[in-house]
């Protein structure tokens, strides 16, 4: 019963997900608040204005670029930072889990560093890399790294002993133990971390764009604020939410496929 039957043939939809209803309710209450003057229009625009602004921006530039262009810029930064963060975090997590001395040296420092939010790294990002893509990539890495590293570490440590024992009794050489036993056994948890890291990376990217760069969705929001155009701020926020959602759906799909390939039911 999660779908509502409505005459939606015009839109090419046979059913409408029930989840849309709260959105419509929110829009209604929001509009009501503005019309009645409870929330002045200088502070919050009417919903339709946001909608039209959103679609207008698909072709008309604001703060230098159109919305798709800024979204592409942001996504590109995110992809760089995310790939970089994952490429550092996965090997580091495995080494921390399986090499005792490194575990002793690195883990305590990491336990403290991981609580520093990505935004707190922005000043250093600017100081070290200047304003630009490198700085924002660095900030994204600080967001991606902790969840991926933590999951990799615990996934690698929690490999069931039975698998290792079975492999040991079957004369498994070291490289095969690593590639065909330890890695696939740890992978489901690692991939879970990668999914969380992808989302957190996206969120920290926007934080970095508020300060460290001159383009992208975050920058659009800043300009919207500075020019007192809240409809641009909100349409930027909507774009961020939609893309974040798309990232999560994609990585979730990927996770399920990996789990299936590893013979585990998701």
């Amino acid at each position: 019963m999660s779908r509502l039957r409505l005459p939606l043939g015009v839109l090419g939809l046979r059913t409408l997900p029930l989840g849309v209803l709260p959105f419509l309710a929110l829009m209604f209450v929001w509009d009501l608040a503005v019309i009645t003057g409870w929330a002045p229009e200088s502070h919050i625009p009417r919903p339709w204005k946001v909608v039209t602004t959103f679609f207008e921006q698909l072709v008309v530039p604001f703060a230098g670029n159109t919305l798709p262009l800024d979204a592409a810029t942001s996504l590109g930064r995110w992809a760089t930072g995310f790939a970089l963060g994952a490429l550092i975090a996965v090997p580091l997590g495995l080494v921390m889990a399986w090499v005792r001395p490194i575990d002793y040296v690195v883990t305590p420092a990491f336990e403290i560093l991981r609580f520093i939010p990505p935004l707190a790294w922005v000043p250093f990002a600017i100081l070290w890399f200047g304003i630009g893509a490198q700085a924002s990539a660095f900030v994204i890495v600080t967001g991606v790294l902790p969840p991926v590293l933590i999951n990799t570490y615990f996934g690698a440590r929690a490999v069931p002993r039975a698998f290792v024992d079975a492999a040991r009794t079957l004369a498994t050489p070291a490289h095969r133990m690593f590639l065909e036993v330890l890695m696939p056994a740890a992978l489901p948890v690692v991939v879970g971390g990668i999914r969380i890291g992808a989302g957190l990376g996206w969120m920290s990217l926007i934080g970095s764009e508020l300060i460290a760069v001159r383009s992208g969705l975050g920058y659009k929001i800043v300009i919207g604020m500075q020019t007192f155009r809240p409809e641009f701020v909100i349409s930027g926020m909507v774009a961020i939410g939609l893309i974040g959602f798309a990232i999560d759906v994609t990585t979730r799909r990927l996770e399920r496929r990996v789990l299936l390939r590893l013979g585990q039911t998701a």
Partner: protein, 261 residues
């Protein structure tokens, strides 16, 4: 096939500040080509004993010899069938069975032939390309047995292999195992806490005391098993046999004496 000798084997584990003696001086010889079953109350150290033969644990003192070679670590001449199967979930049945053979550098053609042989023998034709989670518990355990047998171990170690299966399936697999063993031979060390299973399967039935584990007695069932043709008859028939029931009762008495009040 190789004999297994336990020479004054002791195993202690560190527990908190103290020590726990799991195995307290076991000396025993299992001759080659014997199906030896070790039965005992829970926690008597029988699994520890098996893990020591596998080389996954080492004795605190004493030694274990397989053939004339002292056990110093795991090796495929002592393949193990684990209680929870321990199949690699990311490998198909075929890949699981072939895994040890690949490690040993068996050429692909020969590997394929061996895998095919055991799939057929275990009644798994047509299931070779399934992943473990696509197989029933009984089939999974058959794959695990095939994986262990495929590397041609000198001794096959089975650690309560049927404990995780339901009673009906267990009976089928016991029969299956007897057929396999009759055909393939070898020395088998089989751990169980099921007296039914022990009496049906054993040439040598070793009864252990409660912890710290020692040997309470060893029964030689070769004569009775051969005379009554247990291994050639269906298990439900054997389980009605008066001599089988008598032996079972006797082993039960021995174990009951060891159960904590």
């Amino acid at each position: 096939m190789s004999s297994v000798q336990f020479r004054s084997v002791v195993k202690r584990f560190a527990v908190g500040d103290g020590e726990l003696t799991a195995i307290d001086g076991i000396s025993l010889t299992v001759p080659g080509d014997t199906f030896a079953v070790i039965v005992g109350p829970s926690g008597c150290g029988k699994s520890t004993l098996l893990h020591m033969v596998a080389g996954l644990e080492l004795p605190s003192s004493g030694e274990i010899l397989v053939g004339d070679k002292r056990v110093t670590g795991p090796a495929p001449d002592r393949a193990v069938v684990f209680q929870k199967f321990a199949l690699f979930p990311w490998k198909t049945a075929r890949e699981n069975i072939a895994f040890g053979l690949r490690n040993l550098g068996v050429p692909p053609a020969e590997r394929e032939a061996t895998v095919h042989h055991y799939l057929e023998l275990m009644g798994l034709e047509g299931f070779g390309d399934r992943f473990p989670h696509q197989l029933s518990g009984g089939m999974q355990q058959r794959v695990a047995i095939a994986r262990a047998y495929a590397v041609r171990p000198r001794v096959l170690l089975m650690d309560e292999p049927f404990a995780a299966l339901d009673a009906q399936l267990r009976v089928v697999l016991q029969e299956n195992l007897v057929q396999l063993w009759t055909r393939e031979g070898g020395t088998v060390l089989f751990i169980t806490h099921s007296v039914d299973e022990a009496v049906y399967l054993a040439d040598d039935l070793v009864v252990m005391t409660r912890r710290p584990g020692r040997i309470k007695r060893v029964l030689d069932l070769r004569e009775v098993s051969a005379r009554l043709g247990w291994r050639k008859r269906p298990i439900e028939e054997v389980m009605q046999d008066p001599e089988y029931l008598h032996l079972k009762a006797e082993v039960w008495r021995n174990i009951k004496e060891e159960l904590a009040p």
